[in-house]
């Protein structure tokens, strides 16, 4: 057992040392630089009258004393002290707020509580990290995660982070659902909000009246996810299983919607199909009917969503298809099965985890989608938009928003649960360490025709939308079809001049552009790291509460962005974690919203990789961390790539959560674009979007270059064509 060796003792002491250091020598509160000296530390603050630090300081002092004994990490006393210190750490943060004590007795015991306290700074945050490390060390010593410290630390850290950045804000907001406008607990109010007739009405199915917003949301979600998954599957099959010539072009085109900023597709669809739209006008002239506004509502949102989500499902299904071991299909063919039978009985069942993951992703994204319904919704109300306007509308009602958010959350959880049931408990392992030299079966001809029939209209439509996006920013006014070429919009956004001493940026969009790049660039690797780590923990580690852990990570994805944004403002504008108005809150928001995508991609990829390879690595003496880095990561490169791309691009294109978190100092591109669309400056919005997309493409290329592709020992050619080179 490694955990009993001397190194483990050293790690425990290191964490403890960090804890003691951050309590005694580093400034506890925010605002002070790291090297401000011990005068501002918790210990000295306690000495100067902030007595609520004493219990924490005492607990840590006891821990230091205990750590001098042999095997201290396994003692019940150590565990008790660590948990106690953790509790006291949290308690001191909440006992005294910014403007005074939060409970009367605290004020009575500690005089200086009346002064209040600021948010955590260097000392405060480092003490928290040290406590997490210490806790992981102690539980690992007691046999958690089979005594391995690395997974134990990962689990403790991720659970703590999720608690602080997902559950805590939502808890704050959830409480708001049960509270009336005066701040009192009111179950009747909650029930009234929950049973409002405009939520559950079904009259639209009878052809009269309007459906409730919940019904609308579910109908949209199911339709959108089904169509997006079907389209994604068609694309994946075409790229992976046919000799279709323009695969690379298709791949590139299918990436486009992912990197398209919100609103701009909606705007393009209006320009095509709106009442004065290009297509509408043409069709109306042809059939001699009055141009109608049919696009506003379900049809419009559905078109925009399918266009937006198909690439996500495509990426998920493609990595699933790529990982299906071709020897299975080859075996079926060799045994005499026709290609259709092979597809139905071998390929299709192996695709099921990918299909489930893709459908789930698209459904949840549709539930949370905000940009498309707000532009194209017309009278068709969905939950995310309703929540947004319950919060930012003229009638500010946080309680109502919280109630709606909980409905949305429950919907998502139901979808997730159904998905798990449908997938069942079959084994989908096909990538093993064994010889793996088959050739993927080509698509049956019937299916190929079907696939092309789905894809061709999509290609035409996508091209039309993107021609508008590409050109709309460079003509005078695309909204009125005034097509005089101009660079005026680009100049408004990105004007710069070379003056003495360097470059001066004058354009109005520079600030948001630079912030966006920084935030996305920092958020993407962090998101991927946490997402893939979580996937690995969930699918490869046995530990108590694993299912709850997996479920918890999905929660942050299920919560609609708008609600995340407001809950963050509510939770993080006050001590102890006082970080609104910083770039950090933007990054944190993205990391925890997007991390489940990396996790799902990782889980889907790991589900196909036989554990025996990792077991072999561990048998030969590698620890959990080394196995993860040397064996698992190279095998799930497609998942890492998906996670990196998704998180980077989402950070650049997400809007609903950040709209509340951007500040004058740190503005984001999408918030800027939303403002332009709101103000009817379509051309400026389109021009900025086009520039943003070019920047994203460059970044995606760089990421692809850095991550590379998975190299399996397989031939790459399809059956019936000569394999050009031996496997690498």
């Amino acid at each position: 057992m490694r955990s009993l060796s001397l190194t483990s003792d050293r790690a425990g002491h290191a964490w403890l040392g960090l804890l003691a250091l951050s309590l005694a020598a580093l400034p506890w509160y925010k605002g002070a630089p790291l090297i401000a000296g011990p005068g501002a530390s918790a210990l000295f603050e306690a000495l100067s009258g902030r007595g609520w630090f004493w219990p924490l300081v005492a607990a840590v002092a006891c821990l230091v004393a205990v750590s001098l004994t042999r095997g201290w990490q396994r003692s019940n006393l150590a565990l008790g002290l660590v948990l106690g210190a953790g509790f006291l750490y949290v308690w001191q943060g909440f006992a005294v707020g910014l403007r005074g004590p939060s409970a009367e007795w605290v004020g009575a015991v500690f005089d200086r509580a009346a002064d209040g306290q600021a948010g955590l700074g260097w000392g405060g945050f480092l003490a928290g990290i040290a406590l997490i490390g210490l806790l992981s060390d102690v539980v690992a010593a007691r046999g958690f995660c089979r005594g391995e410290r690395f997974p134990a630390f990962c689990i403790t850290a991720i659970v703590s982070l999720l608690t602080v950045f997902v559950f805590f804000p939502i808890l704050r907001l959830g409480l708001a659902a049960f509270v009336d406008t005066e701040g009192k607990l009111a179950l009747a109010t909650f029930w009234g909000r929950l049973s409002a007739p405009d939520l559950w009405g079904m009259t639209c199915f009878l052809g009269a009246g309007r459906c409730g917003v919940v019904v609308n949301t579910v109908v949209l979600g199911v339709l959108s996810a089904t169509l997006a998954t079907a389209l994604g599957l068609a694309l994946a099959l075409l790229v992976n299983r046919t000799d279709f010539r323009m695969k690379r072009a298709l791949r590139a085109v299918s990436i486009l919607p992912i990197i398209t900023p919100p609103f701009v597709v909606g705007v393009a669809i209006i320009l095509l199909f709106g009442r004065t739209g290009l297509v509408t006008g043409f069709v109306a002239d042809l059939l001699e009917v009055r141009p109608s506004r049919w696009i506003y509502g379900l049809p419009g949102i559905l078109i925009a969503q399918v266009l937006a989500f198909a690439p996500v499902t495509f990426l998920v299904l493609l990595s699933t298809l790529e990982a299906i071991n071709p020897t299975l299909e080859e075996a079926a063919r060799t045994l005499g099965a026709r290609s259709m039978t092979t597809f139905r009985t071998v390929t299709w069942p192996l695709l099921r985890p990918g299909l489930a993951a893709a459908f789930l992703l698209a459904f949840i994204e549709s539930l949370a989608d905000f940009g498309n319904p707000i532009v194209l919704g017309g009278g068709y109300e969905v939950l995310s938009v309703k929540i947004f306007f319950a919060v930012v509308g003229a009638r500010y009602d946080l309680g109502n928003a919280a109630t709606l958010a909980m409905i949305l959350l429950v919907l998502t959880l139901i979808a997730f649960w159904l998905q798990m049931r449908w997938m069942g408990r079959k084994s989908y392992v096909t990538v093993t360490g064994k010889s793996d030299a088959g050739l993927a079966a080509p698509l049956p001809p019937v299916l190929k025709v079907a696939v092309l029939a789905v894809i061709l209209p999509w290609v035409v439509f996508t091209l039309a939308v993107y021609i508008i996006i590409a050109s709309g920013g460079f003509v005078t006014d695309i909204g009125r079809w005034d097509l005089t070429p101009t660079f005026g919009h680009l100049e408004t956004a990105f004007r710069f001049e070379f003056v003495e001493g360097g470059l001066e940026l004058y354009g109005s969009a520079w600030d948001s552009m630079i912030t966006t790049l920084w935030v996305a660039g920092l958020a993407a690797p962090l998101t991927t790291l946490i997402g893939i780590l979580t996937a690995w923990l969930v699918s490869r580690q046995e530990f108590a509460g694993r299912r709850a852990f997996e479920f918890g990570t999905m929660l942050s994805f299920a919560i609609p962005g708008t609600v995340v944004g407001v809950s963050y403002v509510a939770a993080f504008n006050v001590p102890p974690v006082d970080i609104t108005g910083t770039a950090a809150i933007l990054i944190i928001c993205f990391v925890f919203r997007n991390m489940p995508v990396g996790m799902r991609a990782g889980i889907a990829a790991l589900a196909q990789i036989d554990k025996s390879m990792e077991e072999a690595s561990q048998t030969m003496g590698a620890g959990g961390a080394t196995t993860l880095r040397r064996v698992v990561l190279p095998l799930i490169r497609p998942a890492v790539f998906t996670a990196l791309i998704y998180s980077f691009v989402t950070a650049m294109t997400a809007v609903s959560a950040v709209i509340f978190l951007v500040s004058a100092r740190h503005n984001m591109a999408t918030a800027y674009i939303m403002g332009r669309v709101e103000a009817g400056e379509y051309a400026l919005a389109i021009a900025y979007s086009a520039v943003l997309m070019i920047v994203m493409i460059l970044c995606v290329v760089v990421i692809q270059f850095l991550v590379g592709t998975r190299k399996l020992g397989r031939r790459q050619e399809l059956q019936g064509r000569p394999a050009a080179e031996p496997a690498e």
Binding site: A14, L18, K30, L98, R99, G119, G121, W122, F125, L126, I129, R149, F150, F153, C154, A157, P197, D198, G209, R210, G274, R275, Y296, I374, G378, G379, F389, V391, V392, G393, A394, R395, Y396, D477, R480, S508, L526, V569, A570, N573, V574, D578, I579, T580, G581, T582, A583, A584, I587, G623, A625, F660, S663, A664, R665, N667, E678, A679, G680, E681
Partner: protein
């Protein structure tokens, strides 16, 4: 080793958190701006040039800004909230979110601007005014253009009129309150129920209907008249109409956020924004509201309040939270729930 690596990564993450200061530095102003971006930008640039105070500006609609200030009440991040319909400003004043300040410039202001300050106990002040009306697309409506509120009920405009949802838009709430004051409450709701037959969509943003009219997506948009004029100036075939029965108006307002990080800069901006020179910036940024300083020139294109039959709009009553919630609830029950 790996634990060390991880802790290094964690350290770096926290370092980033702390390294980005949340507190404002000297000579800064955090401005929450609720008029159109172009005007916001022009104002912050001009103030920065004049005083050397660095302006950090965020533009959001008045509803959004109000929500943000309410959410940040414990620890305000903004200094001044400039622009947007007066109602949310009054609501913020009523809830103590904004600070009392009597500007030395108050004597130079129009009556309606001073009244706004009096109503709120000097927590807000009028900076511009604009009448409510509608605009029609003259390519689509060629004969018998509508001139009155009653004309909008004409069946030939079926599915061709847009107005914002009063729940989300200050503009549309102004219309609701105007109708109630013009016709009486029950008659107003009867009118709106009838108008509903012609409404194609209740938009979220207050000025969205006139943009839809400008591109021909709808024939008529009910908006503040200066928004309609701005479209006309930009070349859209829009004609602004002051309804013959009379109409309400907004008093765009400015408030100092209570407990903001830079109170001195806030007062400097407040006083400056009430000067004639600052108020004349609007016209250069395609905004044709009527300035509140009597010495500021009203833009040529601006619809004059003298030419409009104005009702005696009761800002105190219709700006109060209770009346607002009550009217909006009735709107939801009687208009919002009607089949589209």
């Amino acid at each position: 080793m790996t634990v060390k690596h991880l802790s290094a990564a964690a350290l770096a993450a926290v370092g980033f958190t702390v390294a980005v200061p949340a507190t404002a530095q000297a000579d800064e102003l955090v401005l929450y701006c609720s008029v159109q971006e172009e005007w916001c930008r022009a104002m912050s640039e001009a103030f920065q040039r004049e005083t050397g105070i660095n302006v950090l500006m965020t533009r959001r609609s008045s509803g959004e800004t109000y929500a943000q200030i309410a959410a940040e009440a414990e620890q305000p991040r903004g200094d001044v909230w400039w622009g947007g319909t007066g109602d949310p400003h009054l609501q913020a004043a009523q809830e103590g979110l904004t600070a009392e300040y009597v500007s030395p410039m108050l004597g130079e202001l129009q009556d309606w601007a001073v009244r706004q300050a009096e109503t709120s106990g000097n927590r807000t002040v009028g900076i511009y005014a604009g009448g409510l009306g509608f605009g029609y697309n003259s390519d689509l409506v060629t004969e018998n253009p509508p001139a009155c509120w009653a004309d909008l009920l004409d069946p030939r405009f079926a599915d061709d009129v847009q107005v914002a949802n009063p729940n989300s838009s200050g503009t549309s709430y102004t219309m609701l309150a105007t109708m109630v004051q013009l016709m009486g409450e029950d008659e107003a709701f009867a009118y709106l129920a009838e108008l509903h037959n012609n409404i194609s969509q209740y938009t979220q943003s207050g000025s969205a209907p006139i943009r839809a009219a400008a591109t021909g997506e709808t024939a008529i948009g009910i908006v503040f008249m200066h928004d309609a004029v701005a479209q006309t100036v930009q070349g859209a075939p829009i004609v602004a109409v002051a309804p013959c029965e009379g109409t309400g108006y907004e008093v765009g307002s400015m408030s100092i956020i209570a407990g903001g990080p830079n109170p001195e800069s806030a007062q400097a901006f407040y006083d400056w924004a009430l000067t004639p020179a600052a108020q004349e910036i609007g016209a250069t940024a395609n905004s044709f509201q009527i300035p509140s300083n009597v010495n500021a020139a009203t833009p040529e294109e601006a619809p004059r309040l003298e030419d409009i039959t104005l009702i005696d709009y009761n800002f105190a009553l219709y700006g109060s939270s209770e009346e607002r919630s009550r009217l909006l609830q009735r709107w939801d029950a009687e208009i919002g729930s009607l089949p589209q």
